[in-house]
């Protein structure tokens, strides 16, 4: 889950905003370019963005006896890259901080960095590294989505650890503490999220393979092979 309003000191809130803003601006620029080049990308953006809306509203119980929610950002990171994903996340996070008191305007920057930038970026790097290997396409989607989810919470833990280093052991030991709260809870959620988003990706491959080909999401042979086996 996000950092709550008021729980980050002002200067850390400002620092995360400064890190978040350039990628938001670059994301908006990229989004404009993609939509101008190909209007058919808009429905795909709707699906991937829609899943971020759905999944980030589902608070699920986990093994630690607490609740957290998946992020759903992996799919969008694969199709559009991390920068456009950060724009969608900013919209969702803004909705949650304005109407739900989850997160807040001053910590929005920090939450965009964790959910909208570092998480999707991690997923995207994994996906790019594995895209052209012989690994099964859906396995790649699973890994990218699950890791995008997990890295979001690694980042949340790091953001809190940097702002609140422990008296004994400093940043490292409070990082471990916050990891215990955020990341351990997240492991089962990330696995389920990865499997479900891989299934969604399968339906996109079946219904609209041409848009995935035009955006060069996966090599043509892989998509063709996946379609012929279904």
């Amino acid at each position: 889950m996000h950092i709550m309003e008021g729980f980050l000191p002002l200067y850390w809130a400002v620092i995360w905003w400064i890190i978040a803003l350039p990628s938001l601006i670059f994301g908006i620029y990229q989004l404009k370019k993609i939509l101008e080049a190909d209007r058919e990308a808009l429905p795909l953006l709707g699906v991937t963005g829609g899943f971020i809306f759905i999944l980030s509203s589902l608070k699920l119980p986990s093994v630690t006896g607490s609740c957290s929610h998946p992020t759903g950002t992996g799919l969008s990171a694969i199709c559009f890259g991390p920068w456009i994903t950060s724009v969608i996340c900013a919209i969702v996070l803004l909705f949650q901080s304005l109407f739900l008191a989850h997160g807040g305007l001053s910590v929005l920057g920090a939450n965009i960095v964790s959910m909208g930038i570092v998480g999707p970026l991690a997923g995207y790097i994994v996906y790019r590294a594995l895209r052209d290997t012989r690994l099964n396409m859906y396995l790649v989607v699973f890994l990218a989505c699950a890791l995008a989810d997990l890295f979001t919470y690694f980042t949340t833990s790091l953001e809190l650890a940097l702002a609140y280093p422990a008296e004994v052991g400093g940043i490292a030991s409070s990082f471990v503490l916050f990891m215990g709260i955020f990341a351990v809870t997240q492991v089962p959620l990330a696995i389920v999220e990865g499997v479900v988003l891989a299934l969604v990706f399968k339906y996109i491959v079946q219904l609209k393979p041409d848009i995935l080909l035009r955006l060069k999401v996966f090599p043509e042979e892989k998509i063709r092979a996946a379609r012929s086996e279904a």
Partner: protein
């Protein structure tokens, strides 16, 4: 046939496994409150800094839903927006596919 639907089967298994895990943990951890991890994180911060949680005031004024009912309603609204988007696009693609037969 099993081959064709393996992702569907895997998804169902993952969700069922998740439910089973929840039932198991909630039965052995009777004192678990299943509060949000952000609430736990905030409690942790309050503990580390020695300040009371109430002392952490929002830096920017913020509207909070007056009750849990309203909050869950707004969360449902968020999920509904996402659901409408996803359903609309999949329907649009399905319609497109019908119009132009298989290449």
């Amino acid at each position: 046939m099993v081959f064709k639907y393996r992702l569907e089967i895997l998804s169902i298994l993952a969700v069922l496994g998740f439910c089973a895990l929840f039932l198991y943990t909630s039965s052995i951890m009777t004192d678990a409150e299943f509060a949000g991890s952000d609430t736990l994180g905030s409690t942790q911060i309050a503990e580390m800094t020695g300040k009371a949680e109430e002392e952490f005031q929002p830096l920017i004024w913020q509207w909070a839903p007056p009750s849990g009912e309203i909050e869950s309603g707004l969360f449902a609204l968020q999920a509904a927006i996402g659901g409408i988007l996803v359903g609309w696009v999949f329907g649009y693609w399905k319609g497109q596919k019908k119009r132009e037969p298989v290449k």
